[in-house]
């Protein structure tokens, strides 16, 4: 393909969807993916081999009290971070879109839930989500789930006992994983290898759903093509294409009428900051010095326990079996100095080793005490994770490193992130609640983990004001006609749920807009 209509940078959650829908609308789409195409055969069922799906590109220099964990959270290669994601796909709530208006903290979105609802429904239909909308009493309005909820195994039944005892509500965790045959995809067999990729196609990662559609519609996927700069016209008002370095190290350019940056949130910021010119000396979309700001991460509230029963902890999905959103109202834990929402992902399938496995939950043990613990845990281990909303803070920011560059001469990203005190208080309140739940479930031992960072959002936040945001509600960079950003970087607030479903809903909304206005990108904004 020599002259695409659209360049999509990145083949992950948002890029794959945009490429598919735009290609299906008749546009010539070129996807430039910085990493390799490992193929499904590389989705090896091993906690060690699964690490190859994580980020291994240019280092990100991390600072602050709560470093973002870019290496763990990001991905490099076809499918991006979504190739190793856990497919926990709850919707954001209406309250997530107007946090500042309602509570005077954080930011507001330029859209509300009703704007996004039809696109949640559309993506849900495309990808398939298993759930039970009747049991999910907190669920915002939307189409019923197309597949029944995930099955409950022993660990789920044991932990549910604690929630029941405290009068709390649980429901099947909404997962983009097949519980029945769906669009020629076989049902999941619940072996807990989700983050190693899902070669059987049960989990709706990009390789399973949107990338095949994009290719079938004629999109070209060009791998090991690392974009280094967005190219602009002489007036600095229109993107003309991108510059990239190919697998052989050669610098190339490609032109198109529409450019969409759908790389990982940190890398989108890096690209925009690096694409300076006389018209844009601070980078693209940075007229108001908002670019790179409001980086957010969910704090993980990790609760562990041992139980008398055999919990068969290896069965199920990595994300879990059940969800509880009883603490979603923003002021639920205000008396503890906290603000924000969280949900519990309950009864997660775990392996003996790796960062989220059993052994690292007790780093204080070594030698025979560790071996003894592993034998006990192999029978009765249980876990759940709270997804803790992170209040946006302007000083949590991605910038370009002053001195260090990658092999292509692009400055490294520097990421500073320190959680807001109210976020820390919410994390602590969740841990206390989690311990009470495990005790109510008759755990023989209960302990908690450190404040890990998961999901990276913000940095290219959307908004109505070009001085305080980077894009409009469709991801179009303020002041530029045909340059768009996609992905969780657009989020002005982080909510208390996993981001991927909302990433896709936003991308579907952008795709619909672009299809509706086909061929008019070069008109005045």
């Amino acid at each position: 393909m020599t002259s695409p209509d659209v360049i999509v940078v990145g083949s992950g959650a948002s890029g794959s969807l945009l490429a598919a829908k735009l290609a299906e609308s008749g546009r010539k789409v070129l996807i430039l993916e910085a990493g390799p195409d490992r193929g499904e055969q590389a989705m090896i069922s091993s906690t060690l081999y699964a690490r190859r799906w994580k980020w291994n590109g240019a280092p990100v220099v991390e600072e602050g009290k709560n470093p973002i964990g870019h290496g763990f959270n990001a991905g490099l290669g076809v499918g991006g971070a979504a190739s190793h994601h856990y497919a926990v796909w709850p919707r954001m709530h209406a309250s997530d879109f107007s946090v500042r208006a309602q509570h005077g903290v954080g930011l507001d979105w330029p859209i509300d839930y009703d704007d996004l609802r039809p696109y949640y429904d559309q993506v849900q239909h495309d990808c398939g989500i298993a759930g039970d909308e009747k049991q999910e009493k907190w669920r915002p309005p939307g189409a019923p789930y197309p597949m029944p909820g995930v099955p409950m195994f022993s660990q789920g039944r044991v932990l549910k006992r604690g929630f029941d005892a405290l009068g709390m509500t649980t429901a099947p965790l909404p997962l983009a994983v097949t519980t029945t045959n769906y669009n020629d995809r076989d049902a999941c067999i619940w072996d807990g290898w989700c983050d190693a990729g899902c070669p059987i196609g049960a989990l709706a990662n990009p390789q399973t759903v949107y990338l095949p559609r994009a290719k079938a519609a004629g999109a070209e996927l060009r791998v090991r093509a690392e974009v280094t700069r967005v190219l602009m016209d002489s007036q600095g008002r229109r993107a003309t294409g991108v510059e990239y370095v190919d697998a052989d190290g050669a610098t190339k350019t490609v032109s198109a009428g529409l450019v969409i940056l759908a790389a990982f949130a940190v890398q989108n910021v890096r690209l925009l900051l690096h694409s300076t010119s006389d018209r844009h000396p601070q980078g693209l979309g940075n007229a108001g010095d908002a670019l790179g700001r409001y980086i957010m991460c969910h704090s993980a509230a990790l609760v562990y326990g041992l139980f008398e029963e055999n919990t068969t902890h290896y069965l199920g999905a990595f994300g879990g079996q059940l969800v509880c959103q009883d603490s979603y109202p923003k002021q639920t834990h205000a008396e503890a100095g906290a603000f924000g929402s969280y949900q519990w992902m309950i009864a997660q399938a775990v392996k003996p080793n790796d960062l989220l496995g059993i052994a690292p939950t007790r780093p204080d043990l070594f030698g025979k005490p560790l071996a003894d613990f592993m034998q006990r845990a192999a029978k009765g281990f249980g876990s759940m994770t709270g997804v803790i909303e992170d209040l946006p803070v302007a000083d949590n920011r991605i910038t370009l490193h002053a001195d260090r560059k990658d092999a292509n001469g692009v400055p490294l990203a520097r990421a500073v992130h320190t959680c807001h005190p109210k976020t820390n208080a919410l994390w602590q309140a969740a841990l206390e609640e989690g311990k009470r739940i495990f005790q109510a479930a008759d755990a023989t031992e209960v302990w908690t983990g450190p404040q890990g960072m998961m999901h990276i959002m913000g940095g290219t936040v959307m908004g109505a004001d070009p001085e305080s945001s980077v894009t409009d509600s469709y991801g179009r960079v303020h002041g530029l006609r045909n340059l768009y950003v996609a992905g969780p970087g657009l989020f002005p607030t982080s909510a208390g749920v996993n981001p991927t479903f909302t990433v896709k809903a936003l991308a579907a909304r952008t795709a619909a807009r672009l299809i509706d206005r086909q061929g008019t990108e070069n008109a005045a904004p």
């Binding site: 989705m43 090896i44 069922s45 964990g69 763990f72």
Partner: protein, 189 residues
Amino acid sequence: MPDRRTLLRGAGAAGLALNFGGWLATPREAWAAGYEPSVLTDQEFKLTVALGEALVPGAAAAGIAPYLDQQLGAARSETLLMIQYLGVEAPYLDFYRAGLAAVEGLAQQSQGRPFADLSADRQTATLGSFAGAQPEGWEGPPSPFFYFVFRSDATDVVYGTPEGFSDLGTPYSAHIVPPDEPWRSGTQQ
């Protein structure tokens, strides 16, 4: 998309196959065959064996030392080490080398002998002195972090394989076994 049943037929013999100088083997097999280090020094290799075994019983026989030696010489894109997503930049040899030297220095300082030559009780005491907080005089990566990383490597080789799962009574249930294992071709189920 591979056919699911085709994939499942291959399950059951998953291992941790690495290329040891052109010789494909698991770390356990490499250790049993008398593997000699090519990246670590002999002293570092010996310490790796002792430290791994003290942290996670069974790590020596599971091949912690051949595993680390091979991995520290592997390309960044091929590494399996957990350290790759713990905020440490590649190459990782410097991190391990500095950490091992710090452990050895601590053992000499506090016990008067190399770590590998200490009794089990004294090894335990030495580990306990740097696992939770950094002791005075420690020169290397933050000691609790080095402890966490090295302990994770040892748990990987002991518990992160089909043999390790089996020892815990945990079904492995692989979709895809590690590829390119010609020496296993006759034994795959």
